[in-house]
Each structure stands twice: as C-alpha cells, then as structure tokens.
Amino acid sequence: MVELQKTFGLKFEKEQSQLFIQKALGQVLFYPPNVAGWKEGKNWIDSSSLMFRLRLPDLIFKSAEINIQVKHDGDVNTEFLSKGAGKNFNVTADWQSFTAQFDNVKENDLLDALINYLLAYKLTKTQKELLSTKMVKTSKESMIKSLAIAITELPEYQMC
C-alpha cells in the first residue's frame, strides 16, 4: 500500500480511506494486527486480503465500488476505523510525474520498462502477453497508465 502510494503519488480525499485499506489488508500502520508485531513475509496474506489486494488498483484508479466491510476491533473509541470510507475512494494519482519518467522510452519498450520499474521479478512470456492485452493504445500516456495498473494487479507486485 505504501509502495503504491509512493509510486503513483496517491492523494486520498479522506484519511479514512487509507485506514480502511490498511484494515482490510490487516496492516494498520500504527496498529499492527498483533502486539507481537509484523511477522516477516507471508503472514498478512490470506485469501481475503489477497483478493482485496488484487482489486485495490481497480478501487483506486478506476473508482470501482468497495464491496467489503472491515471488522470492529471491539473498542468503542476506535469504531470509526472500521466505518466504511463510503462507496468509493476519492483518490487522485500523480500520473504526470509517473509518465514523465518514461519520456525517453519507445512505445515498443514500454512494457519491459514498466515491469523493470515496478517489479523485482522477471515475468514469463505468457504473463507479458496477458499484460499486453490490457494496454490501451490511444496515446503513450494511456499505454503507460493501463500497463502500470495491470502490473500492480499481479501477485508479483504484492511482494513490493
């Protein structure tokens, strides 16, 4: 989540939205899931947090509707944390700064450049072909945007 925010310069209209996301992922920053703190690696991943994580780019970049609720933690004083952030997140991304980094990249090389930029892993030919099908070719900016969003929905991105 922090990675997504840094990379795309995300600004949430309501702070509530970020708390909601962190809670859905079991990753409230000032409020770890357990007093034992964060377990290294995979502990945050279960079926629901993974599905939410894979849908997050849709929620953030395409204003898809939020269709889950997060749990109350019992404390009447922190109930606000789990109240929904509304039906959608109102969030803006700084696409100008993001796309500017690829000014010197040729259109044909964009996919590889974005994969290198966003992921710590190499992708297979099949995966690259899948990403290419998500590319919107109306302009270079739209190509970068659509590919970047498609990459952030891959499990590989969730390790960042």
């Binding site: 279960d46 019992g74 390790m159």
Partner: protein, 408 residues
C-alpha cells in the same frame, strides 16, 4: 514384487518429505493430484465447532445476573436489571430480559453456562486481550498465529490443503484462523466471493502463473490465489444445495448464523466456523445497547439451534460464545461499565455432558481490585474442544497441557 514395494515407499517418502520440509508453502505441481484426493473429506469426522465472538467485552454480570445478591444491586445503582424482569434459571442466577430465545434452549438442556472464565494476570486492553483469546497465549506471551489456525496445522499434518476447513463468516480473516502453515478463509457471502474470484483478469493472471517455484513468496501468493479460486467455487456450489426457510433475524448475527447453518446443512466440509459481532464496549448508557445486542444474539441462536435440530445436525454441532473480557463489578459514572476480567462463556449443542450451570456464580465479595477472579482458564475449555470434540492433540496447539473439562 520387491520393486513395486520399493516404488511405493519411495513415492511415499518423497511425498512425506516434500510436505514435511516445505509445509504447504510450495506444492510441486506433480502433487496437485494428491490434493484432489482429499477433496470432500472433512478433516475430523462430522463434528463441527462454531465460535461466536462478542467483541468489545460483554458485561457478563448483566447477562447472567446474580439477582439475589445485594452487592450486585449496590454496585450498580442505576444499571442493575430489575429483579422482576430477569429470566430466572435458578434461585440465584437469571438471564438478561432480552434473552428469551436463549432461555428456551437453555430449558431444553442444550446450553452449558460456564462462569468465571479468564486467565492469569488479565489484560484490560481490548486489543491485547482479544489477542490472548485468539492466539491462546499467556498474558505475557506474544504469538503470531491463532489457535484455530494451529488446529488446522496440527489436524491436517500437512495433508489437507483447504482454506475452507475453517471458515469465518466475514469479509476479513481474524488472527484466530491464521496458523503457521495453513489459514482459514473469510466468506461473508458465498456468491459474492465466487463472483469476485471469477473476475476475468484475475482468472487469466492465475492461469498465466509462472511454473517455476524459485521465488518462495511469489509461489505462495499464487498458491493462495489458486486455492481461493477453487475454494470459492466449491463453497458456492455447495451453498446452493440448502436454503433455509427458518426465520433468522435480519441483523448482523442473524445473517451470519443463517450463512453458517446453510453451509452446515448443505454439507460443506468445514470443521470450524467463526463469527463475530461487535458493540459490547458499553462505557456509556449501557443497558439499552447491551439488552438490544443480547436480544439479537439470543433470538438468532434460538433460530439457529432449531434449524440445526430440524435437520439432524445439532448433535454434530457445538457453539462456543465468548468475549475478550467481562466488565467491572461496579458501574461507572456514565451509566456504563469499564473493562474488567473474568466472564461467563456459553457452550450450546446437543451433546453436552453437563447442561445448565457448569459451576457456581462469581463471588462478589472476593474481588481482585473490583474485578471478578477467574477460576477456569479459557485454554482448559479450548483444550476440551480440541481433544474431546475435534479429536486432535491439544498440547501441540496450545503449547502446553491444559486438562480437558467434563463439558463435551
């Protein structure tokens, strides 16, 4: 002859060692067939445990009320429940007036009320005490896995690989269901979950997953994704088998227990269900709020029990209701109660060894700085459920030996 024996033992050896070393993190593709063999098999026979968590710290003294005890009335001048309204269960204790449904099933011998449940050196923070209950730790011990999750680890011994062996009816998964190796699954709504896993792009991502297992964490994510997609399909298919006609209350607990009942009666191969409802943190104007919540709980439980009974599932089902702590004996200045310690816990089912009151009411004269003293460690109850109900060794799951009680 000798050759084939060798082949079998070699295959067994490979399989066992692969599972033992990698746990369930990396299942080589050639073992996927093995996974299929274990479909449709509940890991521990037909016994089902349903856990209901009352989040926020339910006030036990206004739930099971010592209505002949003067100290109760003196400690709570404005929030003690009037004697005439209490649903009496013996000449000492009675239930909150909202709990008529609960009382009906109590009178049929389907409920054990266990008083004074807690743990040594109690913690009064919601967060920490819930952690202790969910991980089954000591109060000075910090664990990162939950007891139901560790039950999955232990019961399966690396051989059953389905997140739906333990289901939480919710959108997110509680720590209780996260084991070291295996995790349960959060299913608020089978159809919604199914649809979300059938998103075309997610489906394609899953199908395009890399075949090499060189990045352990990435493999783990893809394995979780594949399991989620197949489990969501399985649960959705099963959930269509039985739709209850019982009249569940249309509120959070009613909806959740309806889902549990439909999954149980449909024959989903799930051993543990987990449900939580919130709102019990009653520091202010307690009575209206708590009575209402207890009524919702009690009404829903009555419908649930009758639904299971009509479908011959009650003898295979055990419901445990708990809260992270009770509340202080004396009320506060806002017509509410603050965080306390020991509390009552309910077991509901058709196979109870000692229905009714399992032990005496708490002693209001002998308090620990204004709080009830615990007599039964909650882990002795967990141990009973694990050993006697789920037929699994509790020592591994709880980290040490807690003697089972004569409950089930």
């Amino acid at each position: 002859m000798i050759m084939s024996d060798n082949n079998i033992s070699r295959r067994k050896f490979l399989r066992n060692s692969a599972l033992a070393t990698a746990g369930t993190m990396m299942i080589p593709n050639f073992l996927k067939a093995f996974e299929i063999n274990h479909l449709n098999k509940k890991i521990n026979g037909e016994k089902i445990l349903v856990i209901i968590q009352l989040s926020g710290g339910n006030d036990g003294l206004n739930t099971v009320i010592p209505y002949t005890n003067d100290i109760y009335y003196k400690s709570r001048p404005s929030i003690a429940i009037e004697k005439e309204k209490i649903l009496k269960i013996n000449d000492e204790l009675g239930l909150n007036p909202g709990m008529t449904g609960f009382k009906n099933i109590y009178d049929q011998g389907l409920i054990s009320i266990i008083n004074k449940v807690g743990y040594p050196n109690p913690d009064r923070s919601h967060f920490r005490s819930m952690d202790i209950w969910q991980t089954a730790s000591d109060s000075n011990q910090f664990l990162t896995s939950g007891w139901v999750g560790r039950y999955l680890d232990a019961a399966c011994n690396g051989t059953c690989l389905h997140p739906y062996d333990a289901i939480e009816v919710d959108d997110t998964l509680s720590l209780a269901l996260k084991g070291e190796k295996l995790k349960g699954m959060a299913v608020q709504n089978a159809q919604k979950l199914f649809q979300s896993t059938r998103d075309p792009y997610i489906d394609k991502i899953n199908k395009a997953q890399p075949q090499d297992d060189s990045h352990e964490n990435v493999s783990y994510l893809y394995k979780t994704l594949s399991e989620t997609i197949s489990s969501a399909g399985y649960i959705y298919d099963k959930s269509k088998i039985y739709k209850t006609k019982a009249n569940y209350p249309k509120n959070d607990i009613g909806n959740k227990l309806k889902t549990v009942s439909e999954l149980i009666i449909s024959g989903v191969e799930t051993n543990v269900f987990y449900v939580s409802i919130s709102g019990f943190d009653t520091h202010f104007a307690q009575n209206g709020k708590q009575n209402d919540l207890l009524k919702q709980y009690s009404d829903a439980i009555e419908v649930f029990v009758n639904d299971l009974k009509e479908n011959q599932k009650l003898d295979d089902t055990l419901v445990m209701t708990f809260s992270e702590f009770g509340r202080r004996v004396a009320q506060n200045g806002s017509n509410g109660t603050d965080h306390g310690t020991a509390n009552n816990l309910f077991l509901i089912g058709g196979q109870l060894k000692k229905p009714g009151l399992f032990n005496n009411a708490p002693d209001l004269l002998n308090l620990d700085e204004g709080d009830l003293k615990f007599e039964i460690d909650f882990r002795n109850i967990y141990s009973t459920l694990i050993q006697n109900w789920l037929k699994t060794d509790s020592n591994i799951i709880l980290g040490k030996s807690f003697l089972p009680l004569s409950l089930v």
